[in-house]
């Protein structure tokens, strides 16, 4: 019942748009796998789903479901289902008939379709809600019904388009638990579109990072933050520390000194930027022999229970996020520990970035 999904060098440019929404995108999703397409708004994520769903057609390239091209196949015969950011429940039907819609369309008699719908309502923890009108449910409940409706259609591929981004953090956590539960139970192929790194890493097996319509990197979810392959990706994932310099024999040399990196084999040698996440830098005493560098506290900002600390070093400002209870004051001198396996080196040639971390003016969020 689950199928693989492939985009093969698919491009799509909207009339009047200056740049393609999606550009020569190739992506493989194995049957039963969950892939997250992660990117900022306006990066073409939703277009990817619309192309798979058949609501939009690529200008070039191919879309394949279960290794067969589906170009020319209308949405209703692609064996898919989709959940969007807004629940999009049919307002004139009861909750039960909403969920029974998919089975009914595939020819299941009304009574059986409704019985199936009851089961899926149970699955999303809304038993007995079937007789209510969608408008009488809360936003989180409506989104669960949308999920039940999509699952009830028994799709070979389930498309999720930022399905939880309109929900409260606590409702979102509930929905994440629910999806994990349903994945274990039903094992559909899932393509999830999101701008939330955490959601991507949490729900998917692998993450495809899409920026400006181009696939930047496709990595296992568990390794999402480990090895960004460009500054674009690193910045998009929220990494704040970049130290220009050059790599030699697996070490990075810069104004900060010589630092052991995650590439001891020297594969990244040459002009290169050292990138290390603020979560990975540990602060210690200035005279700690384990410290790779020393610096002077410039500023602190609360980050949840933790604190983001800005440290002035010989290589400019570096950022570290420290655990609760550590208090630093302006001017304190500290040592910085940069674990070698967290020190990523990105060759300068790949510096194709213009904006990103710079406080740029917001981009219109076209889809």
């Amino acid at each position: 019942m689950t199928s693989s999904v492939d985009l093969v060098a698919a491009s799509r440019t909207y009339t009047g748009a200056p740049a393609p929404a999606v550009s020569r995108l190739s992506l493989h999703v194995a049957a039963g796998d969950a892939v997250a397409v992660l990117g900022p708004s306006g990066s073409g994520k939703t277009t990817v789903l619309r192309l798979i769903a058949g609501l939009d057609v690529p200008d070039e390239g191919d879309i394949r479901i279960a290794d067969t091209t589906v170009l020319g196949v209308p949405p209703e015969r692609r064996g898919i289902a989709m959940v969007s950011q807004s629940p999009r429940l049919f307002p004139h039907m009861s909750v039960l008939d909403n969920v029974a819609f998919g089975p009914q369309m595939s020819g299941v008699p009304k009574r059986q379709a409704r019985q199936a719908a009851e089961r899926y309502l149970d699955l999303v923890h809304l038993p007995g809600m079937g007789r209510r009108r969608p408008a009488t449910l809360s936003g989180g409940q409506q989104q669960r019904v949308a999920l039940a409706r999509a699952l009830a259609a028994e799709p070979a591929v389930l498309l999720l388009d930022e399905p939880f981004s309109a929900l409260d953090p606590s409702l979102r956590a509930d929905m994440h638990r629910l999806v994990t539960e349903l994945r274990a139970l039903l094992q559909p192929t899932i393509v999830l579109v999101t701008h939330d790194h955490q959601e991507a890493a949490l729900l998917a097996d692998s993450v495809a990072i899409l920026i400006d319509g181009q696939l930047q990197q496709h990595v296992a979810a568990a390794a999402l933050y480990d090895r960004p392959n460009s500054l674009t990706v690193s910045r998009f994932l929220g990494c704040l520390n970049e130290v220009p310099g050059h790599a030699r024999a697996g070490r990075h040399v810069s104004a900060l000194g010589t630092i052991d990196t995650a590439y001891p084999d020297g594969q990244a040698d040459g002009d290169a930027v050292l990138v290390i996440r603020q979560e990975a830098i540990a602060l210690t005493r200035a005279d700690d022999p384990a410290a790779n560098a020393t610096g002077c506290i410039e500023r602190t900002t609360p980050r949840g229970a933790r604190t983001l600390v800005e440290i002035a070093t010989t290589a400019g400002l570096l950022f570290a996020e420290v655990q609760p209870g550590r208090r630093y004051g302006h001017g304190d001198v500290v040592g910085l520990v940069l674990p070698a396996d967290q020190c990523v080196v990105i060759p300068t040639a790949s510096r194709t970035v213009t904006a990103g971390q710079v406080p740029a003016s917001p981009v219109p969020s076209g889809r």
Binding site: A81, F90, G102
Partner: protein
């Protein structure tokens, strides 16, 4: 309190005219305000209209003509609205066409239909048909021209109301249904039609009420007998015999009652199917 005061200038004329119309019209039809003689509450005027044999045929004609015209207008208007939704370029042209019928007064439309469809009209002449071969649409037994005039004019109205009443997210709901496996016809039947229903009911009721109440079109394009309600009321009201005026008002009261019944039925239908705000 202040908001209540603001209501007054708006409430007063509506209440006065509506109240006066219904109360006094009702009163005169019930014999309480005779042109000559003593006032007395009775149903004489109603009995007289019934006795004249004009009332039942008038109701039948009015309801049939208005019903046929409204049904036709609903079908054409719905098709137009769906076509506008479905195609963008065609949609704009069509919308403009539909809107362009609005400035044409009924009396002009009726005249044009008359010129077009009469036995000796342009269309039979254009088609080179003999008099016998062309159906008697104008002033004929089937009120064809009257029905067509109303249907033509109201279908544009129906299309515009349906388009306006379809929620902004109809397209998204249609996409959702498609992805869930609904083909073109299933989407039209299960999604679009139910969503368009409130608009259809509203436009249909207004259209029907208008067709029952208006009288220039049947006068220009209909037969002289049986008369529809509006024509009957008008003839009795403008009669030189002032004693039949209570009968005119009785017919008017019947017309308003019929219209109000349709309006209430429409409201009932709209209530029964809750619509998402």
């Amino acid at each position: 309190m202040r908001a209540r005061l603001l209501l007054l200038p708006a409430v007063v004329p509506v209440v006065v005219v509506l109240g006066a119309t219904l109360a006094l019209g009702g009163a005169q039809s019930l014999g309480l305000m005779p042109v000559v003689g003593e006032p007395a509450l009775n149903l004489r005027a109603y009995r007289a209209v019934v006795a004249s044999g004009d009332l039942w045929p008038a109701i039948t004609v009015s309801v049939t003509v208005a019903g046929a015209a409204t049904a036709l207008a609903l079908a054409v208007g719905l098709a137009t609205a769906l076509a506008v939704r479905a195609s963008r370029v065609g949609g704009r042209i069509l919308g403009a066409l539909a809107a362009s019928t609005i400035p044409i007064p009924h009396v002009v439309g009726a005249a044009a239909i008359g010129l077009l469809l009469a036995d000796t009209g342009w269309l039979p002449r254009l088609l080179g048909l003999d008099e016998g071969a062309w159906p008697a649409l104008v002033a004929g037994p089937w009120w064809g021209a009257v029905v067509l005039e109303y249907a033509w004019k109201e279908s544009a109205f129906v299309a515009l109301v349906v388009l306006a009443s379809l929620a902004a997210d109809t397209g998204e709901l249609m996409d959702t249904a498609a992805v869930l496996g609904a083909g073109r016809w299933a989407r039209a039947r299960h999604i679009l039609l139910p969503l368009a229903l409130p608009g259809l009911v509203t436009a249909g009721a207004i259209s029907f009420i208008y067709a029952v109440g208006s009288f220039e079109v049947p006068w220009l394009l209909g037969r002289s007998s049986p008369e529809p309600l509006s024509v009957l009321a008008y003839r009795l009201f403008t009669s030189t015999d002032l004693t039949v005026r209570p009968q005119a008002l009785a017919v008017a009261v019947v017309t308003v009652a019929l219209s109000a019944a349709i309006g209430l039925a429409a409201l009932g239908l709209l209530r029964r199917r809750p619509v998402l705000a």
